[in-house]
Symmetry: C2
Subunit: 106 residues, 2 copies
DNA sequence: AGTGCGTGCAACTTCAGAGTTGCACGAGCA
DNA sequence: TGCTCGTGCAACTCTGAAGTTGCACGCACT
């Protein structure tokens, strides 16, 4: 298996609220309080999600004066995408082999 | 945007037992009972996971005599991978634009 | 026909995590 | 120098998901 563990990334991407957060951060860097103002959850909930996302390597904290803004990191997503692509291709390759065998038999 | 629609797929991929199931199905098609014999959980638990995976489009039921075998579908995985790649590229593109602005100002 | 294996449905327990409220701390602005 | 705004930590509730046991149904071989 490749270096970084994918499981935390999947767990992080499984929650809908975290996708909303990521969607906002995809437009511009925002602080936890700023995100709380745009989403229907409290700042503390946002903070927990941001900690989880940072742990998964999907966002990065950036100090801006006295507040802490968060930045969306595309690298981890691309990394995960490539891993998924490889696994999916492997499955389809097995399927293609089975189909080929079935046609040869007939 | 098909962004938030990805959440169910990742919810399906977030569980470790489901990854074990997918790993087994990646080798060959198996029924719920056969999977239960290879994994340390009961058949009913397996059945629930299979229903979830089928709902997410990651697995497909195939009738084989009186039993129902399940097949891993790589298409959904590739589809998800491409969506992730696109989103990640979008984020990095914005970052690159910001960096360019900072360099022009200096 | 009868029987067994595989499947499906339902109730129950357990536990992680999503969200809330409340309060305390501390760095930045006027 | 105050004082405000943003952040961090802790305890609590509550919903949903994972897993179990138990039982009933049905198709498929003998």
């Amino acid at each position: 298996m490749s270096g970084p563990a994918l499981a935390p990334v999947f767990a992080a991407l499984a929650d809908d609220t975290r996708w909303q957060i990521l969607a906002e951060l995809g437009r511009c860097d925002l602080s936890a309080s700023a995100l709380a103002a745009r989403l229907p959850v409290t700042r503390q909930a946002i903070a927990k999600h941001l900690a989880l996302l940072a742990e998964a390597g999907l966002v990065e904290p950036v100090r801006a004066g006295r507040e802490i803004r968060y930045r969306a990191l595309g690298a981890r997503l691309s990394e995960t995408a490539r891993a998924l692509e490889a696994i999916g291709a492997e499955w389809d390759r097995r399927l293609a082999a089975i189909k080929r065998l079935a046609e040869e038999r007939s």
